[in-house]
């Protein structure tokens, strides 16, 4: 069984055909409406097109972007086939590339990485692959685009696959990688198998996207994690529900059942699940990513920010952690810096004890003890927090292993963090 919703990300610049590919997916899956098409036809004509619809214009965004011919920010696009709904986080390749790619990748189940068949594996594609792997995206699709411009050459395709695979070997073996030769412009292997590349016998892109499994398809593979968001307590009074006390939240991973012995962290209070409430009625079991309300057998002082999990399946609870941080702000991160940290539903203050290294996203080499992390830099840091956090390594759990850093003075979101391991 597969979830009938897939979130994927794309990244790239104007000329590698990313917008054309998205336009093609929308157009060929018949998600383009007549008034949008009319807009594209007019814009194509205005910009001196030769009467051919420029599908890339379907993803046209803000006026400032049209004026400057660039994409400023992540745009979200929606399309559906008979088998699945899709949400695309469409990330620009230029300015603030890392910041945008990290944002788009953080919620994605899959990344489509575009290569230009003529140009080979460019830096931007490597960067996108690295960020996708770092952000724990389980599936990478390497779409070798513009096959029409290399005479649909199998040899060229295999050359690029070998080159990319050589680079990908350095990323670790987490993500599953699939390679598909396409022409977004001509539509080859996007929705239909291309008759011009009969040597390619696998699925076309859309079919693969329709069938690929996503993380929530296997809720039992992960331990249960339930961050408490909100305590539901109807005001006392005449109402019969005045002694009701429910812990509302979204299951970050795994499943919980009525009767199970659970512990709330970091307080360490133990109890059993008395009931799992939803608006529709009680459930025997809840699974990620459902939003539910738990009632507990004992009256405990559990509040927002506590994490409920099964006993014997507890995450690390610590005030110290090591993490990879993507820096998103012009003002750099330095040792000694003080930030607000938001992790699951818990807020705390974090102090940066040490900058351990910074990654060169071209070579994937890490340089140790940098002075600072500047905008778009990715590096490993050690943090200390004002209250204990209950976390898992990001590799094991994207929800309980991620956090953001917020500047106390400006309230801007300045860093995206992925927990490595607790400090020894």
């Amino acid at each position: 069984m597969t979830l009938d919703l897939l979130r994927f990300t794309t990244a790239g610049s104007v000329d590698d055909g990313k917008s054309t590919l998205i336009g093609r997916l929308l157009y060929d899956s018949k998600q383009v409406f007549e008034d949008q098409l009319e807009h594209v036809a007019q814009a194509s004509a205005r910009r001196g097109g030769s009467g051919v619809l420029d599908l890339a214009l379907l993803t046209d965004g803000l006026r400032a972007e049209r004026e400057q011919g660039i994409t400023i920010d992540v745009a979200y696009r929606y399309f559906a086939t008979a088998r699945r709904r899709f949400i695309i986080a469409d990330c620009p390749g230029h300015q603030q590339y890392t910041r945008n790619m990290v944002t788009g990748a953080s919620t994605a189940d899959l990344a489509v990485i575009l290569l230009d068949a003529r140009k080979g594996v460019l830096e931007q594609s490597k960067r996108h692959a690295f960020i996708s792997a770092l952000l724990g995206i389980p599936h990478l699709v390497v779409a070798v685009n513009k096959m029409d411009l290399v005479e649909y050459s199998r040899e060229r395709f295999e050359e690029l696959v070998a080159e990319f695979a050589g680079f990908a070997a350095k990323l670790g073996d987490r993500a599953k990688i699939v390679y598909i030769p396409i022409s977004a412009l001509e539509g080859d292997n996007v929705v239909e198998r291309s008759p011009r590349m009969e040597w390619y016998e696998e699925q076309p892109l859309l079919e693969f996207l329709e069938e690929v499994e996503v993380a929530y398809d296997h809720p039992y593979d992960k331990q249960a994690r339930f961050p408490v968001q909100w305590v539901i307590r109807p005001a006392g009074g005449a109402g019969e529900s005045s002694d009701y006390r429910g812990y509302a939240g979204q299951l970050a991973s795994g499943a919980l059942r009525v009767g199970e012995e659970v512990v709330a962290l970091p307080s360490g209070l133990r109890t059993r699940i008395a009931a799992i409430d939803t608006f529709e009625g009680e459930l025997e079991e809840a699974q990620a990513p459902m939003s539910v309300t738990l009632r507990l057998e004992d009256e405990l002082d559990v509040s927002r920010g506590e994490l409920i999990c099964r006993v014997e399946q507890e995450p690390t609870v610590s005030r110290e952690l090591q993490a990879d941080v993507c820096w998103l702000n012009e003002r750099p991160l330095r040792a000694g810096g003080r930030y607000v940290i938001k992790h699951t539903t818990r807020g705390a203050t974090a102090i940066v004890d040490e900058l351990q290294d910074v990654v060169d996203v071209h070579t994937l080499e890490r340089a140790s003890a940098p002075e600072q992390l500047a905008l778009n830099d990715i590096g490993r840091v050690r943090l200390r927090t004002s209250t204990p956090l209950a976390f898992d390594p990001y590799r094991a759990n994207r929800r309980t292993g991620s956090f953001i850093l917020i500047d106390e003075a400006t309230n801007e979101t300045v860093g995206a963090g992925m927990v490595g391991a607790a400090r020894d």
């Binding site: 965004g61 509302a248 929800r399 995206a416």
Partner: protein
């Protein structure tokens, strides 16, 4: 090993597939609870339209059996469809929640806003004045709205939790990065956030959800006979006081509305869809976007929505 042997209650494990509507619903409930927890004084904008009807159901799912931790507010242009106002008041009474009505007419009467004139006059732009005044007057720091990213190009780029400065302005070039499901609700006094729990829903999702939940919607969403006149390719409701332009004729047509807005700028579509199921079928087959088909306010320029959002509109 998690087989549902308990008998009484059906185990979710027997249906491991979570439908996309349930996934979107859960995401939206999570957003609402985060805002309730992190902001001091939220408000939910309820217009009586289909998207805000879905927001009310999501609020029930997020906060019951307690009352909502925020009031509801309607920015009333004074030119709303009477069926919608009647529905609005009935729904609020059923829920037992508090409704604040912010009136564009009052903004005009006390000189805060100036009425447009001429046959194409609309109070659409004036709503922004009333909205910003009401937010300031009540000290709201967060406002839930039913906007969706599939509606319009500028909205496709907006965050789920969208930061506005103390002028209510949206700055598309300087949005806070939004990572995972970790929302940053920290603001200074006078600033606010607009929150869009339905960001990732499409129009079809909204109708399928309304159908799944069997939610009541105002009667104007279903095909009915109405006196209309055609202008710029759209069918507008005729009512007392509307100035017709040369050659425009009032005729009776079977229409329904895809969006509920100000009568002066919201067009109807010819339709025979009389039930929720028929509406879902019609939306699934339609070849025109909802704002393109029914909203004159977006036709002003290529970037009409972008401009209004920068000025503080939803």
């Amino acid at each position: 090993m998690y087989g549902g042997s308990s008998g009484v209650i059906v185990s979710v494990a027997e249906r491991p597939q979570l439908s996309h509507l349930r996934a979107l619903e859960s995401e939206a409930i999570h957003v609402m609870r985060e805002v309730a927890a992190e902001l001091e004084r939220p408000v939910l904008l309820f217009s009586g339209g289909k998207d805000s009807i879905v927001l009310l159901r999501l609020a029930e799912k997020a906060f019951r059996p307690a009352p909502f931790p925020f009031p509801l507010m309607h920015v009333d242009t004074g030119h709303n469809f009477p069926e919608v106002i009647e529905f609005r008041d009935r729904r609020v009474a059923e829920l037992g929640e508090q409704l604040i009505v912010a009136s564009v007419q009052e903004s005009i009467d006390n000189g805060r806003a100036v009425e447009e004139t001429g046959p194409r006059a609309s109070r659409n732009r004036l709503q922004t004045v009333t909205l910003l005044d009401a937010i300031a007057q009540h000290g709201f720091d967060a406002a839930f709205g039913g906007a969706r990213r599939d509606e319009e190009r500028a909205r496709a780029k907006e965050r789920i939790m969208s930061f506005r400065d103390d002028f209510g302005q949206w700055d598309p070039k300087n949005q806070r990065p939004e990572l995972w499901n970790l929302y940053n609700g920290r603001i200074r006094k006078g600033e606010n956030v607009r929150v869009f729990p339905l960001s990732n829903w499409t129009e079809l999702d909204v109708w399928e959800y309304i159908s799944q939940e069997q939610l009541e919607v105002p009667s104007i969403y279903f095909a009915h006979e109405r006196e209309v006149f055609s202008r710029d390719g759209m069918l507008y409701a005729w009512r007392e006081g509307v100035e017709l332009i040369d050659g425009e004729q009032v005729s009776s047509e079977m229409v329904r509305y895809r969006t509920v807005g100000d009568m002066s700028c919201t067009g109807g579509v010819r339709s025979q869809a009389a039930t929720l199921e028929e509406v879902v079928v019609e939306i699934a087959a339609t070849r025109i976007t909802e704002r393109g088909e029914t909203r004159a306010d977006d036709r002003v320029s290529e970037a009409a929505m972008e401009d209004r959002k920068k000025a503080g509109y939803f």
